[in-house]
Amino acid sequence: MRTSAFLLVMAAVAAAVFAAGHFLGSDYFFFAGYTVLQFVVLATAWNILGGYTGYVNFGTAAFFAMGAYATVAIYKLYPLPIPVLILIGGVVSGIAGFGMGYLTLRLRGAFFSIATLALAVVLQTLVVNWRFVGGSRGAYIIGPATVPILGNYIEYLFLIMLTLAVLAITAARAIERSQLGYGFATIRDDEVAAEASGVPTLRLKLIATTISGALMGMAGAPFPYYIGYVEPASTFGLAYAVNSIAMPMIGGTTSWAGPLIGAILLGIVQQVATVTISSAVNLLIVGVLMVAFVIIAPKGIIGFFQDRWRAGSGG
């Protein structure tokens, strides 16, 4: 399927989801759905670097928070419409992704991951000490109660995140099937052999960190309007880093569908657990599922079925 056709299909699915929510008429559906979709974007973004090129990024929260705090800073100066804020968040985090890539991509394996973790800690310290965006006290962002046409504000936010998810998935799928996707795969498999085949590995890794960082920032930009109150400890929360790694791992990292399946599955389980048990149990669920998948299906749901299919077809 061509990318344009795929985009139309995804848009149709998204429209159906939105229409279903609208007729359901429940604010909770949109409120919980927003979080799930936010994780769809974060997991897809993480997977572009972590799944396609094999560089494990522990700093998702840093890029997410950069998008969120860009919004807070702009809100204090002059409130802009959310789509513009998403673009700004994307640019800020994209630049940060490029910079991080430039500084750290000569490191391989665990060393790269530790450097990304350090980035999150450094940025959190900076934000805690930055009084303009509220420092450790946090900042209140008051969105309007209603918007034109749609009426309900949470529906508007949901629609924005839905659009972002569709665009992120379409971009990930397009990358996967392009020359870039082949290049990323060779980096994951063997960087020395990739260079010997003419793949400019450093440049491709920078492209991956930039795209991945930008998408994470875009997911973070509307967050202050969604949550209403932003403070460093939760915006840089462990849950973002853990979830955005766990979701692609559970779904399968080599294809765009993996993070989507993982995020929807894990996201919904977490939302249900938040309502029925407690929100503190979320990370426990992630941990148990991760362990289970590492044992039963190390290549995630997609990999599990691909292997079955391969074995079944005798090849």
């Binding site: 020359q179 795969a185 020395v192 052999a193 010997a196 085949s197 003419g198 400019p200």
Partner: protein, 244 residues
């Protein structure tokens, strides 16, 4: 004939260990050079320095009249230098055909400044796979291949970059008599197409049959360079291989 590859005073150390010590070597366009030496004599290190996988501390490498100093490995590949690895390093998550697609996409595209159509791409991949006899395994993953097939894939991937100079680093180790002949015939065919080839090999039968000229490395120094028969009669080479 002009020199395609000129190496002058090339040295490489690993800490206190001198792996290569002032190597001079020239390879003419269209030549078939055999490079031999005992294990640990620096053959693979030399290949790594030529191809940019390692950086040499001293000396120069010129390819096709251009100095390669400061060039990354992928830039050298695009200039027309291709190598196979001693231990096959296929892209494990890509199919056999897709393994060949990588140098086509990233080297041949970049060099010619045009994109292949889908059909041209398939043709090219198919051609190289037929050449090494892997046509029926195109859709398999490398892990489903035997060691021999993996070595053939390694060679095919180097060939797919359409190089001017191909360095085959022990492409025949562990192969049977017939398989060695297969690969030799393949390399000769490539050479007839005008590709210069450096063959690094321990199988003397192959080296003697293939090479127009043989260079011998011992402990990071080049001790002999000349016609195969003449080099084999060299007392220093005999000493290095057989001891005194």
């Amino acid at each position: 004939m002009t020199d395609l590859l000129e190496i002058g005073g090339l040295s490489k150390r690993f800490g206190g260990f001198v792996a290569l010590d002032g190597i001079d070597l020239a390879v003419k366009k269209g030549e078939r050079l055999g490079l031999i030496g005992p294990n640990g004599s620096g053959k693979s290190t030399l290949v790594n320095c030529i191809c940019g996988t390692l950086h040499n501390e001293a000396g120069s490498v010129k390819f096709d009249g251009k100095s390669l100093a400061g060039m990354t490995a992928h830039q050298r590949t695009r200039l027309g230098l291709a190598r196979s690895f001693q231990l096959p390093r296929p892209f494990m998550s890509l199919s056999v055909a897709d393994n060949l697609r990588v140098p086509l996409l990233y080297t041949v595209h970049a060099r010619e400044g045009r994109k292949f159509t889908h059909a041209e791409m398939e043709d090219h991949c198919g051609e190289f796979l037929r050449l090494v006899g892997l046509a029926d395994k195109a859709k398999k993953l490398p892990r489903d291949l035997s060691m021999v097939e993996m070595r053939k894939l390694e060679l095919a991937r180097a060939m797919a970059a359409e190089p001017k100079l191909l360095i085959a680093d022990e492409a025949m180790a562990g192969l049977s008599h017939v398989e060695v002949d297969d690969i030799l015939a393949l390399l000769v065919r490539l050479n007839e197409r005008g590709i210069t080839i450096i063959l690094i090999e321990h199988i003397m039968r192959a080296v003697m049959a293939f090479s127009q000229r043989v260079a011998v490395l011992v402990s990071g120094k080049k001790i002999a360079d000349g016609g195969p028969q003449e080099v084999m009669r060299n007392p220093e080479v005999e000493r290095a291989y057989l001891g005194q």
